[in-house]
Structures are given as structure tokens and as C-alpha cells.
């Protein structure tokens, strides 16, 4: 590992700049993303994946088991493929049946366990699971591409490369459940295991194995192998909605650790005084790759397509100017500084690019992105101190005029039907009296206004006015976890949940964001990632994958 270059605190971009929704909604995956770090771990251990069970009909219905040894433990993906009538195929969370269902299992399931999982996994939320089941998921086929691929293979041909590039996956997951849902293992039971310490590592492992299953299934039905370069571009699609958004608000320590790791990585590379020739070449290569990736990123939504096209244009200008800075002192700091005049999309793409060539300098930060012990909040003793702290750290919230109806027009709630997060209009829909506590800014302002003129202990104040407990907790956290708070009004009419989704999904390693509204998006995971047999050769060079026909 290279010598650690300690950045000065001034080189960290401030939370007031970084923690805004619009910027979070401009993020791209990076080498710190959880899929990337998992792949590096798998590659470092030269993990071999076996397929001890393949009980599949000719038309691709049945079950399979994939097993691997990783970090001193054995894990298995149980995959169940079902003949789903077209009228039952929906990506909605209200669905009750899917083309395929999956469990990541702790160990290798024996016949009885395999039967138990086969009976329960297709039922998903209405099934019941044990602590041996680590992750639960399901996926539907991209019928158009799956049919095309299998028909071509049956005809002795490879599939059309344009279709592979345009769709990018054979199946898309509609949920990947971890951490105790429906009886599966709590995250804490596996959080210490080598390789699974990182956030969502078990879920990412599941997705990568699912991707392999989709390849195997298509080859099985098609009766012939797919070319590896086509398989490499076939990731796993995903439909993600509001269910994911509140996580960033309810897990401030994790959000802080993710964002702080990314900002620290950026600060470290900005502190590099001089670039070596191979590093300059690499940066230019990656900038060109980003250009190609943007060219291959098309979405049906008119507004988002327009945004991508603007980014393409802007980025072309940026790519041409990068060379100007690479020979200067502190080249990446200067390059990032001039980016501040560009759009947030350009800036955040540049952040991911600049981090990419410097694994030796930044990859250790992946180990800081979990939350092993919980929030270590500072105890604030008196209300005068609390007032000063709010003024110092929550000025962004104090600037919001909550007397304006539009600033609390939306409310988050948990739906009765699926017990999933939803977002409603306070003035048009019932239920705002039961809203979920994601209105952090409003609560902070309310707390501030309620603080007594006469100083008193925070404990006594809490006892007298118990409705401010959450706001006090957040204020106590902010000194230690300065990147833990989204600095925007999450109940204002201007809040777009898609920004929260993109931030979180970029940390997962998702690309090709394909928003379908301001509340849900399709994405692609694992596109360009190494195949199961490729972990020992170049497993870490798939940032912003580009399809080569």
C-alpha cells in the first residue's frame, strides 16, 4: 500500500455542499461501492463457485444450488424458477408470484432444508424463514430479452448485440431482503464474518450469484453457451421504489460513514502532489470510458434523457480539458476545483473517476463504511448548549419557512396493505396524523422554537416536552456524524425521493439509472462484473461498464 497522504480537513467537501438532495441524486458508483469491494474480496480469496444442484426442466423450471467458500464460511444460493403466467408478472411490491425466488443460505442445505426453502421462498413475504437464511430475493424475467436469447441459442446463434446492450439484464429483482425480514438472520449474526463485514455485503453476494443463475438458465433453455463478452454485459436489473428511501434517514451513522469515506477518498487523491505517467494515462482512459458509457445510457423518460444528453455534452468538454491539469502540481485538486463551475452531475461523475485509479490510496476506506457498534452520540447537558449546537449545525433547517404550506405538503407513512414506506400529499390524502418521523428539519426547527429562555438541563426539558426526543437525538449525533443528515426538507413539495434512491443505489454499485417517476427507478447491477470463472483475472476494472459488440 502507498504511504498514507493525510488530507487537511479543509480538503473535505463540507456537509453543507455534499448532503443536499440534488447532489446526492447526481452520484455515480465508485470503487468504494459495495459490489466493487465485494468483488475485490472474492477475487483476493480466489473464490470458486460450484453448482451442486441443478434440477431443471427443459423449459427452465426447477431449482438450483450454488455454493462457495468465503472468509472461512460456506454459503449457498438456492434458486427456484417457476412457470409464471404473464398476467401475474408485475414488478410491483403488491405482486404475489415471481419468475424466480432466491435464498442465500448459511452453509449447504441438505435435502430437508432445500425442500423447506423451495416451499417458502416463492411465497416471499408470506413465507417464513430461519436464521440459516441470510438473504431473501425474487426476480422477474425481462421476457423480451430472455425469449430472444434462448431462441437465438436454440437456433445456434448468439443474441443480437443491440438488444444485449439496450436491455442489459435477463432478469430484474424486485426485492432483496436482508437483516431479519420475515425471520431471516439478523445482520448482526453475520456482520463479523470476513468478507461480509461491509454494508449490504450479503445482499450484494446474492445479486452476483443471481446474475450467474440467469446466465445458466438462459443457456440451459437455449441449449448452447452464451459468449462470455455478452454474459459480462448482462447484469441484474432492479426496480426500486420508496421502500429504500427512508433508510438513509433512519440510519444516520451509516449514511455518515458512506459519505465520509467517499469524501475522504476524494480528499486523499486531491492531496496527490504529482501524477506518474501511468496514472495520467489511466485517468484519460477512464474519462474516455465515461464518455462511452454515457453514450450507451439511454432511458425512455424524456426529462431524464434530456439530463443525460446535457451531461454527455458537458462531459465531452470536460474530457477534452482534463489533459491541461495532469502535468500541474496538485493536479487533481486543481481539476476538481475547476469542476465547481460545472453541473452537479459533472462534478459527481468526476469524483468517481478521480477515485478510480487510486485503489492503493483509498480502498482501505471500505472498511470504515459499516456501523459495527451503533451511534455514539455526545451527551448535551443543557438547553443553551443545545441551542448553540442547532444554530451551528442545522442552519440549513432554520432557513426553511415552515409556515409555508408547501414546506410540509408531503408526508411519509407506512402503508397498511404492504407495511412499506409511502409518500402522500398532506392536503389531499388522509393519514398525515400517522406520518413517519422523516421530517427531521421540521422537528429540529420545532425543537429550537420550544427551547426555554432560562437554561435548564436537557434531561428535564425532555421530561417536560417529550415530543422533541427524536430532534434532540439527532442534534446529539450531528457533532460526531456530520455527514449523517440530509440537509433538505424531506416533507417539502420539492423533495424528490429519487435523489435518495440514487445516492443509496450508487453506493450499492448500480448504474444505468432509469427513473420511471420521481419515486421509483430501474437500475442495473453487476453489469461488467467478473463472471464466476473470472475472479482471478482483472476482477476490479469494471467501473462504468461499456459494451463492446
Amino acid at each position: 500500500m502507498n504511504a498514507f497522504v493525510a488530507p487537511t480537513p479543509a480538503l473535505l467537501r463540507s456537509p453543507s455542499l455534499v448532503m443536499r438532495l440534488s447532489r446526492m441524486g447526481s452520484m455515480f458508483p465508485s470503487r468504494l461501492s459495495f459490489l466493487r469491494s465485494l468483488m475485490r474480496r472474492l477475487a483476493a480469496e480466489k473464490v470458486k463457485v460450484t453448482r451442486p444442484v441443478w434440477e431443471m426442466s427443459d423449459d427452465g423450471f426447477g431449482r438450483a444450488v450454488y455454493s462457495l467458500d468465503f472468509g472461512g464460511h460456506t454459503y449457498s444460493l438456492v434458486a427456484i424458477s417457476t412457470d409464471l403466467p404473464p398476467e401475474m408478472r408485475t414488478d410491483r411490491v403488491i405482486a404475489e408470484a415471481w419468475d424466480s425466488a432466491y435464498v442465500l443460505y448459511d452453509g449447504v442445505p441438505d435435502a430437508a432444508e432445500l425442500d423447506r426453502i423451495t416451499a417458502n421462498a416463492p411465497r416471499q413475504e408470506s413465507g417464513r424463514f430461519t436464521e440459516r437464511d441470510l438473504v431473501l430475493s425474487r426476480a422477474n424475467k425481462s421476457v423480451r430479452l430472455f425469449s430472444h436469447v434462448t431462441e437465438r441459442l436454440q437456433a445456434g446463434q448468439q443474441p443480437d448485440t443491440d438488444m444485449i446492450r439496450n436491455v442489459g439484464y435477463l432478469m430484474r429483482t424486485t426485492a432483496v431482503y436482508g437483516n431479519g425480514k420475515f425471520g431471516i438472520a439478523d445482520r448482526r449474526l453475520i456482520a463479523d464474518r470476513p468478507g461480509l463485514e461491509g454494508p449490504f455485503a450479503a445482499e450484494m453476494l446474492t445479486v452476483w450469484l443471481i446474475r450467474n443463475f440467469t446466465h445458466d438458465l438462459a443457456e440451459h433453455v437455449g441449449g448452447a453457451p452464451l459468449d462470455d463478452h455478452l454474459k459480462r454485459h448482462l447484469g441484474v436489473g432492479n426496480s426500486t421504489g420508496l421502500g429504500m428511501a427512508p433508510f438513509l434517514v433512519t440510519h444516520p451513522v451509516l449514511l455518515n460513514n458512506w459519505m465520509l469515506a467517499r469524501e475522504t477518498a476524494l480528499a486523499r487523491v486531491r492531496a496527490i502532489p504529482e501524477l506518474q505517467p501511468p496514472q495520467k494515462v489511466r485517468i484519460l482512459e477512464l474519462a474516455k470510458r465515461a464518455t462511452q458509457h454515457l453514450v450507451q445510457w439511454d432511458v425512455p423518460d424524456v426529462e431524464h434523457q434530456r439530463r443525460i444528453e446535457k451531461l454527455r455534452t458537458d462531459w465531452t468538454g470536460v474530457e477534452a480539458s482534463i489533459q491541461l491539469y495532469l502535468n500541474q502540481a496538485y493536479p487533481l485538486d486543481k481539476l476538481m476545483a475547476v469542476m465547481s463551475q460545472r453541473s452537479e452531475d459533472v462534478q459527481e461523475l468526476m469524483v468517481s473517476l478521480l477515485i478510480e485509479p487510486f485503489g492503493d490510496l483509498v480502498d482501505d476506506l471500505c472498511e470504515t463504511m459499516g456501523d459495527a457498534i451503533g451511534p455514539l452520540s455526545s451527551v448535551i447537558k443543557d438547553t443553551d448548549t443545545l441551542r448553540v449546537l442547532i444554530e451551528q449545525y442545522f442552519s440549513w433547517a432554520m432557513e426553511i419557512d415552515f409556515s409555508a404550506p408547501t414546506e410540509h405538503q408531503q408526508f411519509w407513512y407506512v402503508s397498511e396493505a404492504k407495511q412499506e414506506p409511502r409518500l402522500g400529499d398532506r392536503y389531499l390524502e388522509p393519514g398525515s396524523e400517522l406520518e413517519s418521523p422523516l421530517d427531521i428539519a421540521r422537528r429540529i426547527v420545532s425543537l429550537y422554537e420550544a427551547l426555554p429562555l432560562q437554561n435548564q438541563s436537557v434531561v428535564d426539558f425532555s421530561r417536560e416536552v417529550s415530543c422533541h426526543g427524536l430532534a434532540i437525538e439527532r442534534a446529539q449525533l450531528v457533532m460526531r456524524y456530520q455527514y449523517g443528515e440530509i440537509q433538505d426538507n424531506l416533507v417539502g413539495v420539492g423533495c424528490l425521493p429519487i435523489d435518495m434512491l440514487r445516492c443509496k443505489l450508487s453506493f450499492f454499485g448500480a448504474s444505468k439509472f432509469d427513473p420511471k417517476s420521481d419515486r421509483w427507478t430501474r437500475i442495473t447491477m453487476c453489469q461488467g462484473a467478473p463472471l464466476i470463472g473470472e475472479l482471478d483475472k482483472g476482477a476490479d476494472d469494471w467501473w462504468l461498464p461499456v459494451f463492446q459488440a
Binding site: P86, T174, N179, A185, G241, G374, V414, V459, R519, W520
Partner: protein
């Protein structure tokens, strides 16, 4: 349902914590107090007295231990400042409150509980929490008081809405 202890069913810690958080909120507890109670109660349910303590806590709302325990611990931490904090021992729910802090806790020779920051000490959680059907049904009913019926507008805006899923 997974059979575990006779007459009881096993749940993940996260499931129990989630239900109890919502149940406490549905019963009138504040957001922060509900969350702290749920962590403590999920730990307390591993003891013989746990279920009765949890039921009593719900019965006492909006007052009682769900409000008082969190405030009481906060007072100990605030008064002690930095370093090791000595807390009194108590019933399983009180101990649950202490053990769910992000600190290491140990019993002192005099029967009190000392808590201190140990960044290498990971919180201990049982792999399963066993709860009777009757209690779980009651707590789920209380949790349901925090749920909102979906509107058509909401359904139209959800993930997957408005697309042909057989594409």
C-alpha cells in the same frame, strides 16, 4: 412458523424490534422513546419475566417506563460525563435498556452495572426471540395503529407502476 420453545414462535431480533417500535408509537409513545424501548424490550424478552414487563410497559403508556427509563439513563450519562458510568441494576427491561446502548456493560462486584465505550465490543443479540402467538398478535395490532390505508394516488406512484411487466 418456526417452532422453537413450546407454545412460542421464533422471530428475528429485527422483526421484534420493528413491531415493538411501531406498537409503542401506536400506543402513544414518542418516536425516540419508542425506538429505545423496542431495543430494550427485544432483549428483555429472552428472560422469563420479559413478556410481562413489556405488557406492563404498554399498559402504563403514556407514562411509565417507556418514557422514564430512557430519560433516567440519559440523566446518568449526562451527570457522569466521560469515562465509565455506574448504573443501578434492575429488572430485565431496565437491563435491556442498558445493554442496548452502544457501550460495553459489565456487572460490578457490588451488583451495579458499569458501562463504558469499547469500540471493539459488538452488541450481543440473540439469534431468535421467542414470543407467544397471543402476545405477538396484540403487539402487531398496536403496531397497525401506525399504518395508513393506501390511496389510489399512492398506488399509481409506486415502483413498477404504469409499465408492461412482460416487456
Amino acid at each position: 412458523m418456526v417452532a422453537g420453545v413450546s407454545g412460542m414462535n421464533g422471530y428475528s431480533f429485527t422483526e421484534v424490534e420493528g413491531v415493538l417500535t411501531k406498537a409503542a408509537r401506536g400506543s402513544g409513545a414518542g418516536v425516540a422513546h419508542a425506538a429505545r424501548f423496542a431495543k430494550a424490550a427485544a432483549l428483555a424478552l429472552a428472560s422469563d419475566e420479559g413478556a410481562d414487563l413489556v405488557k406492563a410497559a404498554f399498559a402504563d403508556l403514556p407514562n411509565g417506563v417507556i418514557r422514564d427509563h430512557a430519560i433516567c439513563i440519559q440523566r446518568y450519562l449526562a451527570d457522569a460525563g466521560k469515562g465509565t458510568v455506574i448504573l443501578p441494576n434492575g429488572d430485565a427491561l431496565w437491563v435491556g435498556y442498558i445493554d442496548s446502548l452502544p457501550y460495553k456493560s459489565v456487572e460490578t462486584p457490588t451488583g451495579e452495572i458499569a458501562v463504558y465505550i469499547d469500540v471493539f465490543a459488538k452488541p450481543v443479540r440473540p439469534p431468535r426471540v421467542f414470543i407467544s402467538d397471543e402476545n405477538m398478535a396484540k403487539w402487531q395490532a398496536l403496531a397497525a395503529k401506525t399504518y395508513v390505508p393506501e390511496t389510489e394516488q399512492s398506488r399509481l406512484g409506486g415502483a413498477g407502476a404504469g409499465l408492461n411487466d412482460n416487456d
